[in-house]
Each structure stands twice: as structure tokens, then as C-alpha cells.
Amino acid sequence: MEVQINGDWRAFPDGTTVAGVLEALGTAPRGVAVALNGEVVRRGDWAEAVVAAGARLEILTAVQGG
């Protein structure tokens, strides 16, 4: 299935969770937050939250600014 990650379409196996996406991307979980279709997914829910085909996933972290 195709999922949009930070604006780019990527392929993942059906049933992949948020935690699975982060692992596949090699994103270190500390200091990161995830929104699935515009809603925050709490860290404690990453392992259960299944990403559906066509979903929009935003993965944010802190950078220098402001």
C-alpha cells in the first residue's frame, strides 16, 4: 500500500503501524511527534495505530528556530 510520509508517497506492507513506519524509516523516536491524517497520535499508541492505504503521515521534530 502507498502512504504519504511528510509529503512523499512510500510503499509499506498492509497493516503497518505508526511504530512500524518509524522503524522502517530509521527515525529515532526521541523528540519526534506524529500526526495521522491531521490528528496527533500519542506516543503510547504508536505500536497499535495502523496506517491505512492513502493515509497522510506527518513526522515532526525540533530544529533551530525562532
Binding site: N6, G31, A33, R43, L60, Q64, G65, G66
Partner: protein, 255 residues
């Protein structure tokens, strides 16, 4: 004795001894940023939220945490209340803090705050339990409305972000300070140390700046200058300045 140690600033539940908040944007590299942060004596520093790439963060989080400085995530880049609220929620999740510097910019050329979207987001975030520090225009009416919306601090600009034009309307800043029931933080527009001192002399509770330090020729030295200026301005405000006079008044006894 006058080092400010017994003169703490309270923003919501947070207590700060340093009245200088530093933004991390604009520094050439992390080592320059580290020296500037240390020299500034700051206890609160801003970071922005951006899409994570595969390499992970920029290292700024590790640096700020190592220095024992509290993080103040911002919503820079957001154009609407909805975007700002989602960014704030993501920042709270990523950084485990309820502190948020709310900023909603109207356009890229001025980066001026959008007052309608800012007030809307402030109401939503305050009722969602955030400690909101709202970046705003130097508008005394809007400052009161943001306070009523539940902001823990109101942060009027001196001039547009990154311009270094100083405090363009000191009277408005004084008006805001005179009626405020929450801390007032002068945010944006500071160019040099005298601007920071003036903000404190006008009665602001703190100063937030980044460009003036991070893009100075010697950021570490400018950070110390700002720290000194904020303290000097705070002391001068408390000490009570002499009234201005039109004619001279001799300070030596008459002959």
C-alpha cells in the same frame, strides 16, 4: 546583590531567574549557538517544529538539554489557527512540555502576526491546558484580549522579526505593560543591547530575541551584552529614573 537572583519571573507555573529568552534560529552552527546560549545565561530557549528527515534532528535538542535549558517550542511558519494548534499539539508530544510560543504569521515579507488567527489559536490552546506565550503586534487592545483568552504571557513585537529596528512604538509597549496582569515579553525587533535595556526600562518582564545574537559578528559577546542590558534595564526600571527636564539643573552647589 543586584544580580536578579531574588527577582524571579513566573510564567504560568514556570519560574525563571534569567529574564532573557533566546531563540536558536540563525546561528551558523551548534558550537556558536552553544557559546551564545551559555554567555546569555538564558533558562528558556525556542525551537521550531519541522518535518523530520531520515538523519533525525539537527542536534539542537541534545544541545539544549545538555545545557539544562528549558525548551520553548514555537509554531513559526503556521498561517492559520488550525495549523498552529496542530503544531503545538505535536510539539507537546515530541518535547513533553506544555509550553508553547504561539506565532501565526500573516505573510512572508513582514512576518507580522495575524491577530485574528492568533487570538483564535490562543483560546483553543489555553483551554487545552497549554502554557501559551503569544507573539503579537504592539496593540494594547489585542494584548488584553490575549490575556483574557488565557495566555500565560503576552509578547508584543518591537519591530518585525529579524529587522533589528528596535522598539518602534515605545508608548504602545508602555500602555501594554501598564494594564497587563500577565508577564509582558518584548519579542522581535531587538537589534542591539540598548534596545533590550529600553524594553526593560519600559516595564517589560523579559526580552526574547534570536537574530540580534545569532547573526551578530560575535554572537557570544553579543549574548553577554544582551544579558547585561536586560539586567541593567530591569534595575533602572526598579530604581526609578529622574524626571526629564527642559532646563539644566546644576548638580554642583552654587558658588
Amino acid at each position: 546583590m543586584f544580580d536578579g537572583a531574588d527577582d524571579q519571573l513566573a510564567i504560568g507555573d514556570y519560574k525563571l531567574t534569567s529574564r532573557l529568552i533566546i531563540g536558536t534560529g540563525g546561528a551558523a552552527n551548534l558550537s556558536v549557538l552553544e557559546r551564545a546560549l551559555v554567555a546569555s545565561g538564558t533558562e528558556l530557549t525556542t525551537v521550531a517544529m519541522r518535518r523530520a528527515d531520515a538523519e533525525g534532528g539537527s542536534g539542537v535538542l541534545e544541545l539544549v538539554r545538555r545545557l539544562g535549558i528549558r525548551l520553548l517550542p514555537n509554531t513559526a511558519g503556521c498561517r492559520s489557527a488550525a495549523e498552529a494548534v496542530l503544531t503545538a499539539q505535536l510539539a507537546r508530544e515530541a518535547l513533553e512540555t506544555d509550553l508553547i510560543k504561539l506565532e501565526v504569521h500573516a505573510d512572508d515579507r513582514t512576518l507580522l502576526p495575524d491577530p485574528v488567527e492568533t487570538l483564535d489559536a490562543a483560546e483553543q490552546l489555553a483551554s487545552d491546558g497549554f502554557t501559551v506565550l503569544a507573539y503579537t503586534n504592539d496593540d494594547p487592545v489585542l494584548a488584553l484580549r490575549l490575556e483574557e483568552a488565557g495566555c500565560a504571557a503576552v509578547m508584543p513585537l518591537g519591530a518585525p522579526i529579524g529587522t533589528g529596528l528596535g522598539i518602534r512604538n515605545p508608548h504602545n509597549i508602555e500602555l501594554i505593560v501598564s494594564r497587563a496582569g500577565v508577564p509582558i515579553v518584548l519579542d522581535a525587533g531587538i537589534g542591539t543591547a540598548s534596545d533590550a535595556a529600553l524594553a526593560m526600562e519600559l516595564g517589560c518582564d523579559a526580552v526574547l530575541l534570536s537574530t540580534a545574537v545569532t547573526r551578530a559578528q560575535d554572537p557570544e559577546r553579543m549574548a553577554y551584552a544582551m544579558r547585561s542590558a536586560v539586567l541593567a534595564g530591569r534595575l533602572a526600571r526598579a530604581a526609578g529614573r529622574v524626571p526629564q527636564r527642559f532646563w539644566a539643573q546644576a548638580s554642583s552647589p552654587p558658588r
